[in-house]
């Protein structure tokens, strides 16, 4: 567009090792300025475009935290870059995925957040999304609870509560809704970041896109969303998805960040069952492959590592397999009806559910549910057949009648 350009500044992964070679930045910012901004951001993850809302031209950007430190450093280029994403006279929102407390503590380690004084056109919102070992512990507790076959209702509910898993789901969904609300309802641009901008930031930006953009709810669209916002954006899959829930050794970097994202997508899918081209099975498949896969797609921590390992040459891509016709049909939602609207999920605790397809997959009897699913598909297919048949017969009848009349005229 007129306001944004592609920049090849990161061609050799020289500026930011966890970014892809090509990124989208405001047109008025030069590569030189970008280099300076990168110095000011944690792990050099300078603000880049994540999503452009066609409806009103508002954008969502993501980055890592600014390195303000305790003495409030500032960076003119960073301010210029961020302001460049705003239309004249418009305001924007910075969504910090850490609580104010955590963000303030980060200053001691050289990190920090944008001061209102230096970014007067922006309002900052803090939302506490948990990270790392807290999420990992949550997952371990949840899996433990789900495997408990005892018949004690109170124990089940208190274990489910103690795992905090659904709290995390609600927190992430709420923040994503907030970002989407800023863009679609308030007509404001948004910048999302946490500390590194590789975890909670990506959960928020990708979920906001699913809410806002109908293309992300198609199979192809969702695949490219995962590629763009997770793989290319440098979510460290290798570190986060090494062990899953049954590990004894405590891995410092292990965290079910991507699984939480998929869980949130499933929650939205459950509330808008007709608006997604894919089904639950698709999400479960992605979850499995993110932990262990015969495909190279989720290997490594970022594009630079994948390039070094020559993964694109040495391994197959998951997408090429998934997109084959026979596989694709397993992932298609039979009741999909393209919905061009923004979909706002409910986030009340009464509206959220445990993702039984993942967490109770091996513990619950699923035969009847699967049969019911098949029956549903049958009804839909039968409906199509009948529709077609009626059309053919109508035409046939019209022809017969016309012929009869023509005969009469003769």
């Amino acid at each position: 567009t007129d306001e944004w350009r592609l920049s090849c500044i990161n061609k050799e992964f020289s500026v930011c090792p966890s970014y892809p070679p090509v990124v989208i930045v405001p047109k008025c910012i030069t590569d030189e300025e970008l280099r300076k901004v990168a110095m000011f951001r944690h792990s050099s993850r300078f603000p880049v475009l994540s999503y452009y809302h066609r409806k009103n031209g508002m954008v969502m950007m993501r980055s890592s935290q600014p390195l303000t430190g305790t003495n409030g450093r500032r960076c003119k280029e960073d301010e210029k870059l961020i302001n460049a994403s705003l239309r004249p006279g418009k305001r924007g929102y910075i969504i910090d995925t850490r609580s104010l407390n955590v963000a303030q503590q980060a200053r001691a380690k050289g990190g920090g957040f944008e001061q209102e004084v230096h970014y007067p056109q922006w309002r900052r919102i803090h939302k506490g999304i948990e990270r790392f070992n807290i999420l990992q512990e949550s997952l371990i507790k949840l899996v433990e609870a789900c495997n408990d076959q005892s018949h004690n209702m109170d124990r089940w509910l208190s274990k489910l509560e103690a795992s905090n898993w659904l709290t995390h789901v609600k927190e992430i969904l709420t923040t994503a809704c907030l970002a989407a609300q800023c863009i679609d309802r308030e007509g404001a641009s948004v910048l999302v970041h946490g500390t590194e901008g590789t975890d909670s930031t990506l959960q928020v930006t990708s979920l906001a896109q699913i809410i806002l953009d109908p293309r992300c709810r198609t199979i192809r669209g969702f695949e490219s969303l995962v590629v763009r916002e997770w793989l290319q954006a440098g979510h460290p899959f290798q570190q986060r998805c090494a062990q899953s829930a049954y590990s004894n050794s405590k891995q410092k970097w292990e965290a079910p960040v991507f699984l939480l994202f998929l869980d949130c997508v499933w929650q939205i899918l459950r509330q808008f069952p007709c608006s997604f081209e894919f089904n639950e099975q698709f999400l479960i498949t992605l979850f499995e492959h993110s932990y262990a896969s015969q495909f190279g797609t989720f290997l490594g921590n970022n594009e630079s590592e994948r390039a070094k390992l020559k993964l694109p040459q040495k391994t197959m891509s998951l997408w090429s397999w998934v997109n084959r016709k026979e596989e694709l049909s397993k992932f298609q939602n039979p009741i999909y009806e393209a919905n061009s609207l923004v979909i706002w999920p409910a986030v009340a605790p009464q509206s959220l559910q445990l993702w039984a397809g993942v967490f109770l997959r091996w513990n619950r009897p699923s035969q009847y549910l699967e049969e019911a699913q098949e029956e549903m598909v049958k009804i839909i297919r039968y409906n199509k057949e009948l529709q077609d048949k009626v059309k053919v017969l109508r035409r046939h009848l019209a022809e017969v009648e016309a012929a009869g009349r023509a005969q009469g005229n003769l």
Partner: protein, 615 residues
């Protein structure tokens, strides 16, 4: 009539509201908002009215309903609010049965339709379906005039070997005279579910007739001489009852019985459990953990699970051991009804059909004297008698429908609708506490039966995935009762809180599709018949057209080859019109589809849960 009344959104954090006019009619409270949307609330549904302290915008009035609707009005003038409050208090509390809605409700049916409606469910027919009377079970006329037990129906089935003196003796030894009678008979296993109230055993009392009665029941089962006696109460409660001269059966005194407690709590525990549940679910800005711990503390799901577990125990005794089971609690009209009816539902697929479910409710709840009037507070009575026992039964059934999506002919809407009318007092079925009371009220002459109305609109209540062939008659359902199978029933407790529901309903979609399939099937038949009729005309047509087929019209390319010969040489006006006709029929489908998307708007305001931007 009060104007300029605001209706607040219950869960809105920013006090979003709509303004409209409030009307009070003889039977309903009606609110019409500025967009002409109407909200009707039946006075009988109102459980509580509360006036909150005056605010700057007016006087808030909160109305809680028995169907879990909660509305929050703000009336601009305090005097109006006070008037509304007082009128509602009066209108919602009825002192006499004759003043209930059912006695004034007129659905424009003539007398014979009314009579036929009441005859729709025939319990004698139902016992015949089960296979009684037979060599072991017979109809007893002991209670024909309600002489032995006022809360039982007139017609009761007992073992053939149980003579009248045994029945009378046994009834004197049972609380409220509710002696053991047949509730369900399993043809294939020749085993029976019987029900009664607790024995008046105290610490050591015995009753020979009662012992004979139980023996008669076990002898009526040729496949297994042993029988189970299930006391559905927690052991502690049952023991406490002994001090009051009641209690439970002593295994030493009865031959061939196995005694078992199953531990379902009493009506008071259930009432306060539901209260706690509603308090939690009604909290604004509720966090996940508060919700889950509130759910746990309320104990509600634990109680639901206890009822299902009890039914599973009962069903196993019958299906696996072919043993008869006698179920009781204290008076044998609350927990006993829950367990007997749920057990029968698991055993017999008939009760999983729409009609069968009506029969089940008529039999185990209405005829055996579940005190609907007291439990649902139909009249202004003792608040300690109110208890959601029947609601729990419906919730148990709902949980089963979730586990067995193809086993039930009815859907969730059916259960919700029944719940609605148990409290609405619009139909006569649930009025009063027992059959005798209903006869005295002349319910069958003065009011209408609910069931024909539900049957008439059964399209709405049908489960489109229902497949009776999958589970043939008398196939046992074996639910998994590990805790995680029991879920919070959002569509019951938040039925009227649209913001919490999924925005698109798979059930509705599939229901519409399968409805449409039926229509299409008929269309096809009709069309085929018409075509046949047309083709029946002299063969000359075909011959002539063979000659004309030298000039194929462009449309012919798209149609299958066999149609070619009937291609009209010149498309006449009539032909064009027919094609238009078929187009509109096709459009009907697309209209339907667009209706879905209109009915479930994808755009909703972010009022609930989503954080407001207040920083």
């Amino acid at each position: 009539q009060v104007e300029q009344v605001k209706l607040l959104d219950r869960f809105s954090t920013s006090n979003k509201s709509v303004t409209g006019t409030l009307y009070l009619t003889a039977t309903h409270l009606l609110f019409i908002d500025s967009s002409q949307k109407e909200t009707w609330i039946l006075h009988h549904h109102i459980a509580a009215v509360e006036k909150l302290p005056l605010t700057t915008s007016g006087c808030p009035l909160v109305i809680q309903c028995k169907n879990f609707r909660i509305v929050h009005f703000v009336v601009p003038r305090e005097r109006d609010c006070h008037d509304v409050y007082n009128s509602l208090l009066q209108l919602s509390k009825t002192a006499k049965y004759e003043e209930l809605y059912a006695f004034s409700y007129n659905p424009k049916q003539n007398e014979s339709e009314q009579v036929k409606g009441w005859q729709l469910i025939d319990l004698a027919e139902e016992y015949k379906r089960m296979g009684v009377p037979n060599a072991y079970w017979q109809l007893s006329d002991a209670n024909r005039d309600y002489k032995i037990c006022e809360t039982y129906p007139r017609e009761l089935y007992v073992p053939t070997t149980a003579s009248k003196p045994i029945i009378v003796g046994s009834s004197k030894f049972r609380s409220k005279g509710r002696f053991p009678v047949l509730s369900y008979y399993h043809k294939n296993k020749e085993a029976a579910i019987c029900r009664c109230s607790q024995p008046l055993s105290g610490f050591s009392a015995r009753c020979l007739e009662d012992e004979h009665m139980l023996q008669a029941i076990s002898k009526a089962n040729p496949s297994n001489r042993y029988m189970y006696v299930m006391d559905t109460r927690p052991k502690l409660n049952a023991m406490a009852n002994r001090a009051a001269g009641k209690g439970y059966e002593n295994e030493d005194n009865y031959s061939n019985i196995r005694f078992q407690f199953v531990g379902i709590e009493n009506i008071h525990v259930m009432r306060s459990s539901l209260q706690k549940l509603l308090e939690v679910s009604g909290t604004r800005g509720l966090s996940v953990n508060d919700f889950l711990s509130g759910l746990e503390n309320s104990g509600w799901l634990r109680h639901i699970k206890a009822v299902v577990d009890a039914a599973v125990f009962l069903v196993k005794a019958i299906a696996v051991e072919s043993a008869s089971v006698l179920v009781h609690c204290s008076d044998g009209w609350d927990r006993t009804s829950q367990v007997c009816s749920l057990g029968a539902l698991l055993l017999d697929s008939y009760y999983r059909t729409i009609k069968g479910f009506m029969v089940l409710i008529e039999k185990d709840w209405i005829s055996f004297g579940h005190k609907f009037s007291d439990r649902c507070c139909q009249l202004d009575g003792d608040p300690k008698e109110i208890s959601p026992v029947f609601t729990q039964f419906l919730e148990c059934v709902w949980n089963l429908t979730e586990q067995f999506p193809q086993a039930f002919e009815y859907n969730e809407v059916f259960l919700l609708q029944i719940h609605e009318h148990v409290h609405s007092c619009q139909f006569g079925n649930f009025l009063g506490n027992c059959e005798k009371e209903r006869e005295e009220l002349k319910v069958k002459e003065k009011t209408y039966s609910l069931w024909p109305f539900l049957l008439a609109e059964q399209k709405k209540y049908r489960n489109p995935l229902y497949n009776p062939d999958l589970l043939p008659e008398l196939t046992l359902l074996e639910p998994n009762t590990v805790s995680f199978n029991f879920k919070f029933w959002r569509n019951m407790y938040h039925q009227f809180d649209r913001s919490m529901h999924p925005r698109q309903s798979v059930l509705n979609l599939i229901m519409n599709l399968s409805e449409q399939n039926k229509q299409l099937e008929e269309d096809i038949k009709e069309l085929e018949a018409k075509i046949k009729q047309r083709n029946g005309q002299p063969d000359v047509v075909l011959v002539k057209e063979h000659q004309q087929s030298a000039h194929p019209a462009p449309v012919a390319l798209k149609t299958p080859p066999c149609f070619k010969k009937e291609q009209p040489p010149i498309p006449g006006n009539d032909a064009v019109r027919t094609i238009e006709g078929s187009n509109t029929a096709d459009n009907r489908y697309s209209e339907l589809v667009s209706e879905f998307s209109k009915a479930e708007p994808a755009v909703v305001s972010l009022e609930y849960g989503v954080a407001r931007m207040t920083c």
